[in-house]
């Protein structure tokens, strides 16, 4: 392994594959409500019951997997707003590039919750149950984010032993980072890809998957995601 030595000690293998305890994966109804453009006080009992029942059904459908690689074979170019990782040039744009500039190592990760929840969402839609279908879709997205959060937390805990910190995680498709960079990201991930496949237009299959990168370093900070750094002013998930 060619990783910076004090970080290398923390990661036994270049590639890590993870599985998850379903009991540890939980989401709040507030997050689902936000996806519906609502806050808790806007929701009636019918909707809250529907969300609760759907979450419980969806939990049984989870097939969560995650994987990541750690590398110090990268260079961050502030002027061109790019990051080169293992010979691949990523067009990460200004925001992501600047936020990762103090990284000593990078983690490239991917995770998925499988395709059962997505199938249930489609099944409900096909039955004409658009609300139920949409709720399953939102639950799937939140579960996938929850799995990504667990990977992030695990890495954060691991590097804290050496007084190191992690950055926030960033994904192609967001913060102006072109989604087409997914192909390069998965080529770097190699066997840690959790079986996720990419379509021609760079979308992940299963759909409820998250990929991206995060930095490790002593001068990095993981901060709460803030909507004001995002340009999508009309986003339905935007915090009021």
């Amino acid at each position: 392994m060619n990783t910076t030595s004090h970080i290398a000690d923390l990661f036994k293998n270049k590639y890590s594959l993870l599985s998850f305890d379903v009991a540890q994966i939980s989401i709040s109804r507030e997050k689902i409500l936000r996806g519906l453009g609502m806050q808790l006080h806007d929701a009636d009992e019918y909707l809250l019951d529907l969300i609760e029942q759907s979450v419980s059904v969806a939990k049984e459908m989870l097939d969560a997997k995650g994987g990541y690689i750690v590398t110090d074979e990268f260079s961050i170019n502030i002027d061109s707003h790019t990051i080169e990782i293992q010979g691949m040039m990523f067009d990460t744009h200004k925001q992501v590039t600047l936020l990762l500039k103090k990284s000593e190592c990078l983690i490239i990760f991917a995770c998925t919750i499988g395709d059962e929840i997505e199938k249930e969402s489609k099944r409900q839609m096909a039955l004409g149950n658009a609300l139920e279908g949409y709720i399953f879709d939102l639950i799937g997205s939140e579960f996938a984010e929850c799995v990504a959060e667990q990977i992030h937390n695990e890495i954060e805990t691991k590097v804290a032993k050496k007084d190191l910190k992690v950055s926030n995680r960033y994904s192609p498709g967001y913060c102006n980072w072109p989604v087409s960079d997914q192909h390069k990201l998965f080529s770097v991930l190699d066997t840690a890809n959790c079986g996720i496949k990419l379509t021609h237009s760079s979308l992940m299959m299963p759909v409820k998957s998250v990929s991206g990168l995060l930095g490790i370093g002593k001068d990095l900070r993981r901060v709460k995601y803030k909507c004001d750094i995002c340009t999508d002013k009309n986003c339905i998930m935007r915090k009021k």
Partner: protein
Amino acid sequence: MDKNELLTKLAECVEFGKVNKAAPYPPTMKGQDGADELTKQALEIGIKPVDILNDALIFAMDKVGEKFTQKKIFVPQMLISAKAMNVAMEHLKPFFQSGEVKRKGKFIIGTVSGDLHDIGKNLVAMIVEGAGWEVIDLGVDVDAAKFIVAINENPDAVVGLSALLTTTMPNMQKIAAEIKSQFPDVKLVIGGAPVNDEFRDEIGADGYSPDPQSAVAYLNALVA
């Protein structure tokens, strides 16, 4: 119930999302007939399908769209209303097929390639359908070739392009250019969180709709 009472009641069912008698929602209408039963009854007593469509269904969905735009209701209520309307529309299907009831036109809609977000697109599709248009929903991650096939099959249709990610806006631009190069007369309307009227102008689209109701207003103006 006479004709007016029945149509008023049916419109209420669609507006408040009472799908059928068995449906538990909304709790205030528990045990009452829903859009399913009332549409059937309306046809049985001889109310013209066109009146059911215009005076109950389109009337109700117009109110739903307005309330959504004014943030008086949210996505769930809109989806439940759309379900009630769809159930009612099932009874009207034979009359659309026979030509006795005509729609205002056709609207092809899809989320552009590289983007899987479909709720905004679905809401627009539902409200546009509720406003009396035939909607051809191409789904998500739709490339130019798929839009072009749909336009070839429906040359008089208006086309709607949706995107949620800023990073898929270039795909919207490419698709718009491809459509306009092959079908310069096809009307193109765009929507989605990252786009605006300036971007519409930049990519040569004809309309920009920030919400479902404005999409309906744009489409209705084309056939007024």
